[in-house]
């Protein structure tokens, strides 16, 4: 049973941040994580439930200088269908295409996916390899301030982030990819729809003369948070993407992840998948 004492549905960011500043607030966006988790007793509501769906200006994708800015309330469906996303960061659209079902995508938001901070959150791995940053707003002493942080540093554990209690995630910013940029995403679920990732893999970099540079590799569902795979990146960075580089990178990937056994898969199998699919993805990049 819930102990919600107050329900708030602010219309502006200013108002929302004011409510947050008073403390003890649960933020509700699409509710597709929050509702099942509170019902299952995994998390408890704070006394104030603040629905942010009516806050103006938190939704939509825009070009903002040399970055793409995706508002926190943008739904997974909107990200999937957005022309700017398709043009500049199609890998994010691809991740959204493997996300849940239409019903969930229509309700679930990108801000919710990030703040739920699940190691299996499907937009997180592509966002990390795209060097995305989160934009956090707060109103500590009467005026709104904003700070940014690389998404790769945002997560501290399952369901935990570096967001302060008074902060609202307002947007995620993705620097526009350089020429020659390639990015791939792979999600392993046991079925094509409605499945939580057993593992996921994101690979990105700039392909020049048959080699990757600015290499980014990230894995989902193999650690308490989505993780960057520094050793796999190092095995690839600047090297000709030939069979021996690919095999070395796949081996590095298998060695550097440290997954667990759960109902979805054993750790051993997850490591095998990381190896085999990293290899397959790199083969595709090399052949493209």
């Amino acid at each position: 049973m819930t102990t919600i004492e107050r329900y708030a549905a602010p219309k502006s960011l200013d108002e929302a941040l004011g409510i947050l500043q008073q403390g003890e607030v649960t933020i509700l966006a699409g509710g597709t994580d929050l509702m099942p988790q509170t019902r299952a007793g995994r998390i408890a509501f704070k006394p104030t439930l603040m629905n942010i769906r009516d806050v103006a200006g938190l939704s939509g994708v825009v070009l903002d200088g040399d970055a793409l800015r995706i508002g926190a309330l943008t739904t997974i469906t909107e990200v999937l269908d957005d022309p700017l996303v398709k043009e500049f960061v199609p890998v994010l659209a691809e991740a959204c295409d493997h996300f849940a079902s239409d019903q969930i995508r229509n309700a679930g938001t990108i801000g919710g996916n990030i703040n739920n901070a699940s190691p299996a959150g499907d937009t997180l791995v592509p966002l990390i390899v795209l060097d995305a940053e989160v934009e956090l707003a707060s109103k500590p002493n009467g005026s709104v301030t904003t700070r940014c942080m690389p998404l790769a540093e945002y997560f501290t554990g399952p369901g935990r982030t570096r967001r302060a209690a008074g902060e609202l995630l307002t947007a995620v910013r993705i620097p526009l990819p350089k020429p020659g940029h390639v990015a791939r995403f792979y999600k392993f679920g046991t079925r094509p729809a409605l499945d939580i990732s057993t593992i996921s893999i994101g690979i990105a970099g700039v392909m020049r003369d048959g080699a990757l540079s600015d290499t980014r590799v990230a894995f989902g569902a193999v650690a308490p948070t989505p993780v960057r795979a520094k050793q796999t990146e190092a095995a690839l960075e600047g090297r000709r993407l030939d069979q021996s580089t690919i095999e070395a990178a796949a081996n590095a990937a298998r060695d550097e992840v440290n997954p667990i056994d759960d109902v979805r898969a054993t750790a051993w199998y997850r490591k095998e998948l990381i190896h085999n699919m990293t290899k397959r993805m790199l083969d595709h990049v090399a052949q493209a």
Binding site: M1, T190, P192, L194, I196, V263, E272
Partner: protein, 802 residues
């Protein structure tokens, strides 16, 4: 009517047409009112407190705080129902557990309150103290010497086993070991047959837990009237058996129990037994003197509704070099769970497949069903046949390979024909088995693909293609298990020639209302829209044994035809009298009495009905018929022609195996079913498509993970049903063997389509990869492990009692 006005009605048949299910518009519009939607004035809401321990003694139960909660009307425990009687086939199961819990689903207390929320809050206030007992986590542990007993005999004050009168149910008397049931069947001379064999294979197969996942979860409303008569709104598939059994448990006259079935949101066998929640709901209603409604949550449905029977099965099969089968020997160990329900009796069906799917001179079958602390298994579409077919059809491929024979030729050589009487005494009056084999093989291009896939096994690329074949035999004309396997019909025509068909057969979504209406209309020359079906109230409908064993179209269909033919005879006789002609020259067509030869209308049927009714010798057309199939009970050795007809099918499954991930994609299923005769083509195709998908889930994705008595995935996130994009292309065709006893030649088909899929998928994976997998399900990780050779083969030292 003058001659010029008399229309000529051409003969027209509904048989084989595509007829929309009568309940489809309501269901598609979301208007059907299931038990979940029902509100009975004054009703309370009930919840059950289940065990927090897998196996434990209950030291104390404190319900005082729950009773004190405002809005709570009744809280009961075993102590409040000293009259409770054990339920289930082995009478080993008391609905409320007072002294000991044997599985996590065990019911300890129940609450009836003003709302579900209050009932749930009350459950949280109940305190139970347990003393843990050692857990029997699997069937192999259950038969080890010195294994903890699941149902130990009660002790007297001195610690000696209590002396109880003979025939005391297991629930009170206990059991000296963990063996719940045994089945032993044999025909032929096994030793001689084995000696004649050129090739023998022996393997152990492991079959897992799955559960029905009905969209409509279990639910019941119980209500006593002022005279103490019990009315239940229930999802049961067996209302007449329930009526009798509830009367027994309550020690009242069965006449005082009435069961009404609201539309049922799926059964698949899950609603075939009596369950504790139903009895508990009755106890609550009795104590509260109010109607009480109890509906499961989805999680509860996973934890506390029955499972398919998990089985460990060792099969030895032999054949000669020329491809003749010589013998089969089977030992199975069935994990019963903590209590005995229908899952324990699946050997009835399993042994039929071993003894009679193919001609086999010697067959020796043994099952030991043992108690464990796991969830208990019930009946589930196919009733053991999926498990048996999984083993037998893999062995058919393996034997064929050993003797270098094409797997299709090997099957054709041993397949049954019409007219055969098997070792088990089954008589195949109609049998389209060989035609199923050749049709499915041709339509899927089985031979060519099978050979090509083997040739391509070592080609480059991670994805391998495979094709596999499997066939099945299942009862198709009822199954004589109870004293009667029959069904009654009352048929009534009103003044407008509309028909009310009152049948004992329940509709559980399978389309029985539609096919029964169709059979009646075919006799009476009326459109489907002329029939109203009444089939859900034991106070109105005549007796029927229940929806199981793929029997409804066959048994209830013959019953409906019987009643319709009587009505037709009565109508034609009356028409002949009134119109002064020979009744043999008349027929019913298009809503008219017509001249049979020319189709010329004699009188509109509605008019005739009115003239019969509103005359000085007022007469109504109302007939009754009871159909009992000409099948027999099995003898003590499980021999006898238990069904009036047998159904056959062959299914060919095509897969793509990704060897980097272990993902098996089912790309196509080609199924050929001997259904006797196609009645409603649309309904039949729907039944088969749904069944194939259920078989696909069993083969590839569904897995109720039970570890140490704990169900790890009681939700649809982690219990993976097949979703729409995974459903393979299907090519479904029919063999019409025109069964002599079947309604218009038809045989039962309800369970058939699920049965072969897992077996055919196993053969397809082997065809693709050269790796044979003996355990289900073929989840990506399981397949990947098998491909990498890191799975241990299921092994079991077949247990034979001294």
């Amino acid at each position: 009517m003058n001659a010029a006005e008399k229309p000529v009605i051409v003969a027209d048949s509904l048989i084989g047409q595509r007829i929309q299910k009568k309940d489809a518009p309501e269901k598609a519009a979301g208007k059907t009112r299931y038990i979940q939607d029902m509100v009975v004035p004054g009703m309370l809401h009930a919840k059950i407190l289940r065990s927090a321990r897998v196996h434990a003694r209950i030291l104390s139960i404190d319900t005082s705080a729950a009773k004190a909660l405002p809005g709570v009307h009744v809280v009961i425990t075993a102590a409040d129902v000293p009259d409770q009687q054990p339920i289930g086939v082995a009478r080993d199961h008391l609905p409320l557990k007072g002294e000991r819990v044997r599985s996590l689903r065990d019911e300890i207390a129940a609450v009836a309150a003003d709302s579900e929320e209050i009932a749930e809050a009350a459950l949280r206030l109940i305190r139970v103290e347990y003393e843990d007992l050692p857990i029997v986590a699997g069937p192999e542990d259950a038969i080890k010497p010195g294994a903890p007993l699941i149902h130990p005999a009660p002790l007297d004050a001195e610690g000696r086993p209590k002396t109880l009168p003979p025939k005391t149910p297991v629930a009170f008397a206990g059991k000296a070991d963990n063996v719940a049931m045994r089945f032993d069947y044999t025909h032929g001379d096994l030793a001689a047959a084995e000696a004649e064999s050129d090739v023998v294979v022996e393997d152990t197969f492991q079959l897992h837990y799955v559960t029905h996942c009905c969209m409509g979860v279990s639910g019941v409303i119980a209500e006593f009237d002022a005279s103490g008569n019990l009315l239940m709104y229930s999802n049961t598939q067996v209302p007449f058996l329930h009526k009798r059994e509830f009367a027994e448990y309550l020690d009242i006259d069965p006449a005082r129990v009435r069961i009404i079935q609201p539309p049922i949101g799926g059964g698949f066998g899950s609603k075939l037994d009596i369950y504790p929640f139903e009895v508990i709901c009755i106890f609550l209603a009795r104590a509260a003197k109010r109607p009480v409604k109890m509906v499961f949550t989805r999680e509860e449905e996973f934890l506390a509704s029955p499972t398919r029977q998990p089985v460990l099965l060792t099969l030895r099969s032999g054949c000669r070099k020329d491809g003749t089968l010589t013998f089969r020997q089977v030992h199975t160990l069935h994990d019963n769970g903590a209590y005995t329900s229908w899952g324990a009796t699946t050997p009835f069906v399993m042994m039929q497949t071993f003894s009679s799917l193919y001609r086999v001179p010697a067959c020796d079958y043994h099952t030991t069903v043992v108690y464990t602390n796991n969830p208990y298994a019930g009946s589930f579409r196919g009733y053991g046949n999926l498990q048996a077919t999984f083993a037998i059809e893999q062995h058919m491929d393996m034997l064929a390979e050993k003797i270098g024979m094409d797997p299709l030729d090997f099957r054709l050589k041993n397949a049954q024909d019409a007219g055969e009487v098997t070792g088990q005494g089954m008589t195949f009056k109609s049998c389209g088995f060989k035609e199923c084999l050749t049709t499915a093989a041709e339509r899927s291009d089985y031979r060519r693909k099978h050979a090509d896939n083997i040739a391509n096994r070592n080609a480059r690329g991670p994805v391998k293609r495979g094709i596999g074949i499997a066939s099945m035999l299942h009862v198709g004309g009822g199954a004589k298990i109870y004293p009667s396997d029959g069904c009654g019909t009352i048929l009534k025509l009103d003044d407008f020639a509309n028909v009310t068909l009152i049948t004992g057969a329940s509709e559980i979504g399978q389309g029985s209302e539609t096919v029964l209406s169709q059979l009646v209309c075919e006799e009476l020359g009326l459109p489907i829209s002329a029939v109203t079906v009444v089939n859900n109230d034991t106070a109105i409908t005549p007796w029927d044994v229940g929806v199981h064993a793929s029997r409804t179209t066959f048994i209830a269909g013959n019953s409906a035809i019987g009643a319709a033919r009587m009505a037709k005879a009565k109508i034609l006789a009356a028409a002949a009298r009134k119109h002064d002609c020979d009744e043999a020259s008349l027929d019913l067509r298009g809503g008219f009495v017509v001249k049979a030869d020319s189709g010329e209308a004699v009188v509109e049927l509605a008019r005739l009905m009115r003239s019969l009714h509103f005359s000085d010798k007022a007469e109504l057309v109302m007939t009754t018929f009871y159909y009992e199939p000409p099948s027999v009970h099995q003898d003590k050795g499980f021999k006898g022609d238990v069904s009036a007809a047998y159904a056959w099918a062959t299914q060919v499954v095509e897969v793509e195996v990704d060897t980097d991930t272990g993902i098996v994609k089912m790309t196509k299923v080609t199924g050929t079913h001997d259904v006797g005769r196609v009645l409603n083509r649309l309904g039949l195709e729907g039944q088969i498509e749904g069944g194939v998908v259920m078989g696909q889930g069993y083969a590839l994705t569904e897995n109720l993970i039970v570890e140490n008595g704990v169900t790890r995935n009681p939700n649809f996130r982690d219990y993976k049903l097949v979703t729409a994009p995974e459903i393979p292309e299907m090519d479904i065709s029919f063999v019409e063997s025109m069964d002599g006893e079947g309604p218009r030649g038809a045989k039962g088909v309800g369970e058939a389509p699920s049965i072969c899929i897992a077996a055919a998928a196993a053969n397809a994976i082997y065809n693709a990869t050269g790796v044979r997998i003996f355990g289900l399900p073929f989840t990506p990780e399981a397949v990947y492990r098998a491909l990498r050779g890191v799975t241990s083969k299921p092994h079991w030292q077949a247990w034979k009692p001294e």
